[in-house]
Structure formats: structure tokens, C-alpha cells
């Protein structure tokens, strides 16, 4: 195995038919980071928010009950595993599916809360995530149509044309919608205003890692250097 991808020597690969997961140093580091954070989340408990009462000395505790705790922990673990998978996958369509799974699970993590404004924000985020599926898969399909391949180890050897650039723009817009980065951050920022801290953080971590990964993929497709 003597393939160099963006200046990284590949350490190995995991073949699953046509879908080849590749192990490069940066990707392995992000994979391990995501898995370590998922383990931390799986063994931790939720925070309790304390609301100070005005005019009295009583404090109001906002707790997460057990049913809610269980479903959130399950969905947070799935989200962490999907993020870890998206870090090392070497196939474009596989990557878009992982991003889609992260989007669905993110809605699920906040769907269990009782604050109405948080649920409203989650609903709007769900709408954006559903619209974002169109550019996400459309971009991947356009890159497939103009290169004839979905494997990044093959695409890196194919010269870039205008249609691939357009496809990767669509792909980026799709990922931006699914992960809720600027300027579409407002829905996600509202979603954090709820108790249950460690599980909510995985929403944040997954979008950060996916953005780093999509930048790497865009560099592989467009080859600017």
C-alpha cells in the first residue's frame, strides 16, 4: 500500500466491497477522538440546571427524568458512532449517508425535551436538515456522473472539471445545512438551551468534526494545489 493522499501516507485500509475505509493519520486521530468522547458520554450522567426564583429564596431545579435520559444516551451514542464512521470512510456516498444519520439523530436528541421554544428550534432545524438532503445527495451524484467513481482513492487521480466543482459546492451546502454551521446556526444555538449537557455536546462535536472532514473531501475532489 503506497498511496499518498493530501501529503498523508495511508497506514492501511478496510475493504467492504466497493466501499473502502482508509486509515490516514489525521482521519485516525479524529476517529479515535470521536470514539473517546462517545465513551465519556456513555458513562456520564446529565447535568441539572438550577433556575433562581425571583423574590424568594427557593430554587427551581430542572431535571432530566429517567426515560428521557435513556433515549438521549442511546441517540448520543449512535451520533458518536456515526461521526466516527464519517471520519474514516473513503467513499463519497457512504460519507453523505453518515452525515444524514447524524442529522436525524441530532433532531432526536432534543426531541425529548419539554421546553416549547427548544422544540420549535428543533422543528426548524429538522426542516433545514430535510431540505439539505437534496444538495447533499445531488452533489455526490453529480461527482459520480462526471468522474464515474465514488471512491476517493480513485477521484484523487481524476482531473477536476467545472461539473465536479459545482457538485462539490452542492455537497458543501448540504453538509452546511445538516450540521447547522454559520449562517444557519440560529436553529442549533437555540437547541442548546435545555438541560442534559453531555448529550447535547455530541451535537456540537459531530458538526465540528464533519466540517473538518468535508474540507478534506473537497480538497481531494478539487485538487487546488
Amino acid at each position: 500500500m503506497d498511496i499518498i493522499l493530501l501529503g498523508q501516507q495511508l497506514l492501511g485500509y478496510i475493504p467492504l466491497g466497493d466501499i473502502v475505509l482508509y486509515l490516514a493519520p489525521l482521519n485516525l486521530f479524529m476517529f479515535a477522538g470521536s470514539l473517546a468522547f462517545t465513551t465519556l458520554i456513555a458513562i456520564s450522567r446529565t447535568e441539572t440546571q438550577v433556575e433562581a426564583g425571583i423574590g424568594t429564596l427557593k430554587d427551581n431545579e430542572v431535571k432530566v427524568n429517567k426515560d428521557e435520559f435513556k433515549i438521549r444516551r442511546f441517540l448520543a451514542i449512535v451520533c458518536g458512532l456515526a461521526t466516527a464512521g464519517a471520519m474514516i470512510t473513503g467513499d463519497l456516498f457512504n460519507f453523505t449517508l453518515f452525515v444524514c444519520l447524524i442529522g436525524i439523530v441530532n433532531i432526536g436528541i432534543v426531541s425529548a425535551v419539554k421546553q416549547i421554544d427548544v422544540l420549535d428550534a428543533a422543528f426548524q432545524y429538522g426542516l433545514v436538515a430535510m431540505i439539505a438532503v437534496l444538495p447533499l445527495f445531488g452533489g455526490a451524484a453529480m461527482i459520480l456522473a462526471s468522474t464515474g467513481s465514488l471512491s476517493m482513492l480513485e477521484i484523487v487521480n481524476i482531473p477536476t472539471n467545472a461539473m465536479m466543482i459545482f457538485g462539490s459546492l452542492l455537497l458543501f451546502l448540504g453538509v452546511a445545512g445538516e450540521t447547522g454551521v454559520a449562517p444557519f446556526y440560529a436553529t442549533k444555538a437555540e437547541m442548546f438551551r435545555t438541560p442534559g449537557s453531555p448529550f447535547l455536546l455530541i451535537i456540537h462535536l459531530s458538526s465540528l468534526l464533519v466540517i473538518i472532514r468535508v474540507i478534506e473531501i473537497l480538497l481531494i475532489i478539487n485538487k487546488p494545489f
Binding site: 475493504p15 467492504l16 466491497g17 466497493d18 466501499i19 473502502v20 426515560d67 428521557e68 433515549i71 442511546f74 441517540l75 449512535v78 467513499d91 456516498f93 457512504n94 449517508l97 453518515f98 444524514c100 444519520l101 436525524i104 439523530v105 433532531i107 432526536g108 426531541s111 425529548a112 420549535d120 428550534a121 426548524q124 432545524y125 426542516l127 433545514v128 431540505i131 439539505a132 437534496l134 444538495p135 459520480l144 456522473a145 462526471s146 468522474t147 464515474g148 467513481s149 465514488l150 471512491s151 480513485e154 472539471n161 467545472a162 461539473m163 465536479m164 466543482i165 459545482f166 459546492l169 452542492l170 451546502l173 445545512g177 449562517p183 444557519f184 440560529a186 436553529t187 444555538a189 437555540e190
Partner: protein
């Protein structure tokens, strides 16, 4: 300057985000009409021309990929043939029911029988099987979320009131 500030403030309203996103997507898709098409003929998953098999009155049209089960591979070209050596070996497999149906009608390929058990798709279940696993897990997560909300919010609403 104050106009720019007002613009940023309007972006902080969650309700406007789907509309804003759709506008950007619409502009990008309209710009896509200007992009010259550069299609690659050497595609990874080849198929015969759509109307070719229908004109030949092939009962499996448009999904006939040829081959003999377990003996001769059909027309499936995979990216890495060394990782999927048996690709195409099962594309022409038909269950006994499927054979009897395909003998009676020429529209078998477009009927409900052409799902697994009839024409098994090597691409879906073998060369790109991991994608199929992910797709069904996306569906499963959607059902988990929906059923949790239904069980704990919709059904318990009366108890809490």
C-alpha cells in the same frame, strides 16, 4: 453599518432559517444551469440503454443483467474487483414463483415481484452492502425518535393534565 447589524440579527431567528437556506439553495441550483456538462461514459455501474430490453420483449426488462446463477457473472463492474470476487454471480437468480410469473407476463421486471427473491441486486447487497446497512439504520433511528415521542408525549398527555 446598522443595516448589516440588522441583517445579522434577522439571521438569529430560527423561523427564518429554512427560508433563508432555501433561497441560497435555489440560487445555487439556478447557477447550475450555466455549468457545462462533463459526463463520464466509463461509469462504475453500467446498464443497457433503457428502452433496449423493453423493445426486445424481455420479461425482466429493464433489470436484465444476464449471467447464470453461481456459474457466470452478469454485467456488473465494480470499482475494486479484488474485494468483491463473486460480484454478478447472483444477478440472474429467480425464485420458483418468480420464474412462473415471468413466463406469463412480459412486465415482470417492473412488478413488485422483482424485489429480493426475484432479481437480487448485487450492487445493493454485495458490492455496496454497507450503504444499505446505513440507509436502513437512518430509517430505524427516525422510527425510534418518532415512536418515543408518540409514546411519551402524545399518549401521556392526558395523564399529565
Amino acid at each position: 453599518m446598522s443595516k448589516l447589524g440588522r441583517l445579522w440579527n434577522s439571521l438569529a431567528t430560527p423561523k427564518r432559517i429554512p427560508r433563508f437556506y432555501s433561497v441560497i439553495l435555489g440560487i445555487l441550483l439556478l447557477a447550475g444551469f450555466l455549468v457545462p456538462l462533463a459526463l463520464n461514459d466509463n461509469q462504475l455501474y453500467p446498464r443497457p440503454a433503457p428502452q433496449l430490453q423493453i423493445d426486445e420483449k424481455d420479461p425482466l426488462a429493464p433489470y436484465d443483467r444476464g449471467g447464470v446463477p453461481l456459474k457466470e457473472p452478469g454485467i456488473v463492474r465494480s470499482q475494486y474487483p479484488e474485494f468483491s470476487e463473486m460480484a454478478g454471480m447472483s444477478t440472474s437468480y429467480l425464485s420458483p414463483i418468480a420464474i412462473s410469473v415471468s413466463n406469463t407476463t412480459i412486465y415482470y421486471g417492473t412488478s413488485i415481484y422483482s424485489s429480493p427473491g426475484g432479481l437480487i441486486d448485487t450492487i445493493l447487497y454485495y458490492t455496496r452492502g454497507f450503504d444499505t446497512i446505513l440507509e436502513s439504520s437512518i430509517l430505524m433511528m427516525a422510527f425510534v425518535v418518532a415512536s418515543w415521542v408518540a409514546l411519551h408525549f402524545t399518549m401521556r398527555r392526558r395523564e399529565e393534565e
